[in-house]
Amino acid sequence: MAQVLAETWRVYPEEACGLLLGPAGLGAAGTVGTFRPITNAAASSRIFQLDPMGFMKAERFADDNGLEVVGVMHSHTHTAAYPSATDIAEATKPLVPPSWHWLIVSLGWGFPEMRSFAVDPSRGHFGMNSATGIAEESLLLTD
């Protein structure tokens, strides 16, 4: 968690982003992972794009250490730690695994707020048995 917050502040006012790595077959609750920061290729305070080379290096690190990519982190510099319309559209694209965890850090209120969400692609957005269509989850980061 410290690395997530450090990266969020390091790149502010741009959105921070990176990949979450963990053992294969993580469940939704109580999951464990490590964070690999990745350059925001968009260099924007409103959107993020994982730099492809950074993505590849993170996957190589995962392969070399018996891990796999289990999610993605990004920050919202001025809005809540909650999936935006852009997040929803991007999370349901092909090649983005529906099993991924979406960790969002908000700096919108002056102090960091961190929340994680799961995607239900059959509903076209973040949602599993939720009246709001958004499914929040517990996520444990080991570093």
């Binding site: 794009q49 994982l50 492809p52 993505f55 796999e68 852009t86 991007e90 090649l95 695994p97």
Partner: protein
């Protein structure tokens, strides 16, 4: 999962985790080809399950897919006509974004 090393005359293709299931769980595979277009065609021929994920109906690269040849983005080279040499590594990477 297994990882391929290049043999003479073939190219190593590195696959993202999300596509490995369609390639028998392999993180890298060896295919023939002298351009990115040929390499991807060989890849899809060998592993048909990858086809719709990487290429559209007209055989062009899907817009949410990035392809690098030895750490260079083909969009800044010759795109699908970018030449590849034996023992080059072609990496297929998903475009992940949000806001």
């Amino acid at each position: 999962m297994s990882e391929a090393t290049a043999t003479t005359g073939t190219v190593v293709v590195r696959l993202p985790t999300v596509l490995r299931a369609q390639a028998e769980g392999q993180s890298t595979v060896q295919v023939a080809g002298t351009t990115v277009r040929e390499v991807l065609a060989s890849l899809v021929s060998d592993y048909p399950g990858l086809g719709t994920n990487i290429l559209d109906e007209s055989g062009d690269l899907r817009k949410f897919v990035n392809v690098y040849v030895d750490d260079e983005d083909i969009r800044f080279l010759d795109r699908l006509d970018t030449p590849v040499a034996a023992d080059d590594e072609v990496a297929i990477l998903p475009a992940v974004a949000g806001g």
